[in-house]
């Protein structure tokens, strides 16, 4: 007699479908948000570099100060990447060979750049948007109490430099929003500014 489509089985099917849909929307949304959350996308970026340079050896094993090579960090907005000539100031003499008597890979590459008189096209790891004006020297004033590693991570342990912090604005604000505190022996109390033109102009 009845040919209705609205049977109990229909009800169950619709309900199952809705449940599955609901769960996938929630799970998918959470997964998508987590994946596309910009801070998460920025963290952990570790591109291959054109030259096999190893911070773990330089800053780790040999304990060379960061500013020995990144000379401008205390003086200006950009920390500065050493020029090939800067590298060669030491590496003219230091030409370490591996067990088989070959030059180490990075050194061989460096020599090649030096001979060709071309710069090294490093890949930017800590890359801020162009509309952000970050100044290294301002952040490395004594009273801030900041160390390079606070933002860049413990580079002295990194074979290849990895971005450990998102460097997104929310991350910046985490520090800038902190209450004033005494940071130096002289007892300066400062509070980092949080208004827009601090970083954008």
């Amino acid at each position: 007699m009845s040919s209705t489509i609205f049977t109990r089985a229909f009800d169950r099917r619709v309900r199952t479908l809705l449940t599955v849909l609901g769960i996938s929307v929630v799970v998918g949304g959470a997964f998508g948000t987590h994946t596309l959350w910009q801070a998460n996308m920025e963290q952990g970026y570790s591109p291959a570099q054109p030259l096999a340079f190893n911070h773990a050896i330089m800053a780790g094993t040999h304990k060379i100060e960061c500013t020995y090579c990144h000379t401008q960090a205390l003086k200006g907005p950009h920390a500065g990447i050493p020029t090939v000539a800067d590298c060669m100031k030491c590496h003219k003499e230091i030409q370490t060979k591996d067990g088989e008597g070959h030059l180490k890979e990075g050194l061989a590459q460096l020599n090649e750049y030096w001979r060709a008189k071309t710069p090294i096209p490093w890949v930017k790891v800590h890359d801020l948007a162009d509309f952000v004006y970050f100044d290294h020297s301002r952040h490395l004033q004594p009273h801030t109490g900041l160390q390079c590693a606070d933002c860049h991570g413990d580079v002295a342990k990194m074979d290849r430099v990895t971005r450990v912090n998102s460097l997104k604005m929310g991350w910046c604000l985490d520090c800038h929003m902190q209450a004033p505190q005494k940071n130096t022996p002289e007892g300066w109390t400062t509070r980092a500014p949080i208004h827009c033109t601090t970083c954008h102009r």
């Binding site: 996308m41 950009h78 710069p119 090294i120 490093w122 948007a129 162009d130 509309f131 033109t197």
Partner: protein, 1009 residues
């Protein structure tokens, strides 16, 4: 910044490595071309090539150039840091270096301080302490020089017969033609430096038949000839207007285009404080409307062909016989009361008066003015004498035409463009008679295109040079960057040819290039040379006095023709004689008085226009002798009746980039002042693009004016009455930052301004404020161009401006009042007022515009979504919206990206922008000292507009410094805020202008004017 901050340029860097430097540049460009970051619509692009370095050093390629590379990554595109191979001395990434130099593009070699970041010159300023512009001031064209440096239109290779050739091939061809040539014609600008002049002399020695001519398309040759005769030497009259109490200008735009405008403005503005020791009075009798006429206390519309009657009558009146003057006044419609006051003033201020006459007036007038000045005792007081001016007296164009018609073997044109701007007819034909033509210039302009050999010039900022700054002072110009397009400076061309021709001159043969020539000509030791480079000039100004004029007979010019028309072919306040016609910044900057951009128009009195039966945009035909041109009409109040004023240099067809096809070339008519026939011409309505349309601040739809009280002015008598008023009953009802009653309209400020919330406390740190003195502003546009350069402001073209979308962050509003034939003018520079109760901030839905704790109204481009609500709600309409991707549209070549100031974000489509009070400069000043919570000193920050303003009309600083510049400006009894009654609490304070009306004519004017 003083010149002491300037770091000496390494003189050997470019000089020794010029070709390699150029190569490096080309490589750099190649990198740049590859790295060109496309202008994304959804991102705000910072200068993509921000850290390219250009200067010096063959080893260097570039420094921290961020190369956007396409990568398949979901992340942002991979970007590169190209560290330098080796770092040049002094260079710090992202930190500016300053170099002293000299600006050689005008007739007066002003000192120049070039700001260079990562090897790119990105901003030009006046050089503090320089003899010609000691305040470090600059003109608009000076500021805009950067545009032509990075102009992609520039010629990139020498050409022979239209085909690219190498420099050596081109030189070979030139030298080959010069060898054995009987008649050689060398045409240069009149502003050769001493070293170049010496080189020209050597060239003429090597080429015996060579004739050297100084060509200037719209020069003051006539005036200079008169001075030569009456003062006995080919010198130049200089001014010391700071000593003047009464100044009379007869059609001389001495604050805008005529003579040493920075010096004139500095001297004039020094006497314009109504509370100062001297408050000078300026009388201007002029034909058109100029910035000088705008600044006048009394302005007399003058038919330029009646200048003779004016001067003669005035001379006789000063001698006690005023009959001739009154007769002329009756005849030409001059206000007899003003003339009476003028004569009284001049008589009363002998020894403190000066008369200046415009360059286009006839010789007779100039000689009469010379004797008038002698009568007034101007010599040694208000007027001086420079026996060795930077500009030589230009050659009569007729001589040039004659020499060409004689069929020279070789004609060489260096840095001139007579094919376009030769006054009068016949140049093209005459040029055809030259057997071999050589032309050198920045771009392939009309002359270069017509020449057999066309050579690219290096820009003045890529060249070594020197200049006769003033008696006893020599200026030095040093290259700021290796030639971007492989150009060569004119001196190097001359040197190369002379070396090839002057056989047997060992010393010359050993001179490697013009740099070496210059260095040997200066003859300084290395330390002294570096000192000179560091300073930008050597020597100190010697005192010279204006000689007594000798009577010289000049023919009396013809009387004005009844019913005829005078045509004045004037210099444009921005593009001058047309030499900056390829400079789109200058083309888009509005003309001071009629606010026209991208055009030269026939400005005429509205009554003349109606007599001719024409309206704005109609065409007239102007006929002088055989020649005639058609011009679009602009009725402009204040222009003398039966006089057409237009500007020279327009109508370029080649090599001007955006300037090609802009305006009408009027050179065919002649030069200066001409008598013409004018009739209405047919033609479609022409779109005249103006940045301002309504000039009446009391504009109303009825007979009753709407009193808006935006730009305020008054007379001394009104000011005295105002000062005598009792203090306001309850000052506490007003904003404490305001402090005073506004002058002269006290009525509106009786409204108590209250606020429901407690006002934000700004007393802790700095509170930035700006003050503008309307009495000082001459409308020279230097602030606009300084702002444009500093803040990466785009140009968007004539059509966009016509739609009401001009992009300037600072504009100069102009208000006219009174009779149409001679209105009173008020100028008001208008920029973001940084209101404490900013209405724009409240309405932004995304917090893209906010307030800083230091009182700045901040605009964050990368947060802006572009609702335009902020600009709607801005009472001052100072916000500018990127309706299109203007940055992308104006950037026709990646080389232009080098021009951008890397410290200011480049804006893209859909983003609102506005004045930031040069936040990058504020931050730089803060970062220059340790962050110990100390207050910056007063004057530690200068905004770009303030730094450029030749009249010092703009002051910027921390209002919280008691007794500081801003504090003083705000406490002035002339200070007021525009639209104070809407309680937005602006941080820009204006000082009302006092017109120093002669006491006999001073009567309280009803209303705000």
């Amino acid at each position: 910044m003083s010149s002491n901050d300037a770091t000496p340029n390494d003189p050997t860097g470019y000089a020794e490595g010029a070709p390699a430097g150029a190569d490096a540049m080309h490589q750099g460009l190649a990198v740049l071309g590859r790295s060109e970051v496309p202008i994304h619509d959804d991102h705000v692009d910072a200068p993509s090539a921000s850290e390219m370095t250009r200067r010096t050093a063959m080893k260097m390629l570039s420094l921290t150039a961020m190369v956007g590379m396409v990568s398949g990554c979901v992340r942002k595109p991979e970007r590169r840091i190209i560290a330098m191979h080796d770092r040049p001395e002094y260079q710090q990434p992202g930190m500016p270096l300053y170099y002293a130099s000299t600006w050689l593009e005008g007739a007066h070699p002003y000192g120049l301080l070039v700001k260079q970041i990562d090897g790119r010159p990105i901003k030009l300023e006046g050089l503090q302490g320089h003899p010609l512009n000691p305040g470090g001031k600059s003109t608009g064209p000076m500021q805009a020089s950067l545009y032509s440096l990075y102009d992609p239109e520039r010629l990139r290779s020498p050409k022979q017969g239209g085909a690219d050739v190498s420099w050596s091939a081109a030189d070979k061809a030139v030298v080959g033609a010069l060898k054995g040539a009987q008649r050689v014609l060398l045409v240069t600008r009149s502003t050769l430096g001493p070293a170049e002049k010496a080189l020209v002399a050597r060239f003429r020695k090597a080429v015996p038949g060579a004739l050297h001519m100084h060509y200037e398309p719209a020069q003051d040759r006539v005036r200079r000839e008169v001075w030569k005769q009456v003062y006995g030497a080919p010198g130049e009259v200089t001014t010391s207007l700071e000593n003047a109490k009464v100044i009379l200008s007869i059609d001389s735009d001495f604050l805008g285009t005529d003579g040493d405008v920075l010096g004139n403005t500095r001297g004039f503005s020094a006497t314009r404080d109504p509370n100062g020791e001297v408050f000078s009075r300026l009388y201007v009798a002029e034909s058109g409307m100029t910035g000088t006429g705008t600044s006048a206390d009394h302005r007399i519309p003058l038919r330029p062909s009646a200048a003779k009657e004016f001067v003669v009558g005035l001379a006789m009146a000063l001698g006690g016989d005023s009959k001739t003057l009154s007769a002329s006044a009756g005849r030409f419609g001059w206000d007899p009361k003003v003339l009476e006051a003028l004569v009284k003033d001049l008589n009363a201020n002998r020894g403190a008066a000066a008369v200046l006459a415009g360059p286009h007036l006839p010789a007779f007038v100039h000689s009469a003015v010379a004797s008038l000045n002698a009568t007034l005792g101007a010599a040694g007081k208000t007027l001086g004498w420079n026996p060795t001016p930077a500009a030589a007296i230009a050659t009569d164009p007729a001589e040039l035409l004659q020499a060409l018609n004689a069929g020279p073997d070789v004609a060489i044109f260096l840095g001139v463009n007579p094919m376009h701007d030769f006054p009068g007819a016949g140049f093209a034909d005459a040029l055809g008679k030259a057997k071999f033509t050589v032309a050198q210039g920045l771009t392939e302009d009309e002359t270069l295109a017509a020449a057999e050999i066309a050579l690219p010039s290096a820009h003045a900022l890529e060249s070594w040079n020197d200049a006769a700054v003033s008696p006893g002072v020599k200026g030095l110009a040093q290259p700021m960057i290796a030639p971007l397009f492989g150009g060569r400076q004119i001196g190097d061309s001359l040197l190369a040819w002379t070396k090839a021709l002057a056989t047997g001159d060992d010393a010359l043969a050993k001179t490697k290039d013009f740099h070496a020539w210059l260095k040997s000509a200066w003859g300084l030791g290395q330390t002294a040379w570096e000192g000179a480079l560091r300073k930008g000039y050597v020597g100190s100004a010697a005192k010279t006095t204006l000689p007594a004029p000798k009577g010289a007979g000049f023919p009396e010019p013809a009387d004005p023709v009844e019913g005829g028309y005078d045509v004045v072919l004037a210099l444009h306040p921005n593009t001058g004689d047309g030499r900056w016609q390829g400079n789109a910044w200058l083309l888009e900057t509005p003309e001071t008085c009629n606010k026209v951009v991208w055009d030269n128009v026939a400005a005429m009195a509205p009554s003349t226009a109606s007599a001719l039966g024409v309206e704005e945009g109609d065409w007239i035909k102007v006929t002088v002798g055989e020649a005639s041109v058609e011009l679009p009409v602009l009725p402009q109040p204040g222009v003398q009746k039966n006089t057409i004023v237009t500007h020279v240099g327009y109508g370029r067809t080649k090599g001007a980039g955006h300037g090609n096809g802009v305006g009408v070339n009027v050179a065919a008519l002649g030069v200066g002042l001409l008598a013409a026939k004018v009739v209405k011409a047919s033609g479609d309505k022409y779109l005249i693009s103006r940045t301002q349309h309504v000039f009446d601040q009391d504009y109303s739809h009825t007979d009753t004016p709407v009193k808006r009280h935006i730009a305020l002015s008054g007379t001394p008598k009104e000011y005295a009455e105002y000062k005598a008023q009792p203090p306001r009953p309850d000052p506490s009802t007003l904003d404490p930052t305001d402090g005073t009653l506004s002058f002269p309209d006290t009525q509106k400020h009786k409204i108590p301004l209250t606020q429901i919330d407690e006002a934000v406390d700004y007393s802790k740190g700095a509170k930035w404020g700006l003050a503008i003195d309307l009495g000082q502003c001459t409308g020279c546009n230097a602030c606009m161009l300084a702002c444009q350069t500093e803040n990466n402001i785009v140009i968007d073209g004539k059509e966009e401006v016509a739609k009401g979308r001009d992009m300037s962050w600072i504009r100069i509003d102009r208000y006219e009042a009174g009779p149409e034939d001679n209105p009173e003018i008020l100028l008001q520079p208008m920029l973001c007022q940084h209101c404490d109760n900013a209405p724009c901030e409240t309405v932004c839905p995304v917090n893209a515009t906010t307030h800083s704790p230091e009182g700045l109204n901040e605009q964050v481009y990368n947060r802006c979504v572009g609702t335009r609500y902020c600009n709607n709600n801005c009472p001052y309409k100072v916000r500018r919206f990127n309706f299109f991707n203007y940055t992308g549209k104006q950037t026709t070549s990646p080389v232009q990206e080098l021009r951008a100031n890397p410290h200011v974000t480049v804006r893209t489509r859909g983003v609102m922008e506005k004045c930031t009070f040069c936040i990058q400069r504020i931050n730089a000043a803060k970062f220059a000292v340790p962050d110990r919570g100390e207050r910056l000193k007063d004057g530690a920050v200068t905004t770009a507009c303030q730094q450029a303003c030749p009249a010092d009309a703009i002051v910027f600083g921390d209002a919280n410094i008691k007794g500081g510049k801003i504090d003083r400006a705000r406490k002035s009894d002339l200070a007021y805020h525009v639209l104070e009654e809407i309680n937005v609490r602006p941080n820009v304070t204006y000082a009302a202008r006092i017109r120093n009306v002669h006491p006999d004519l001073d009567h309280p004017v009803k209303g705000g004017h």
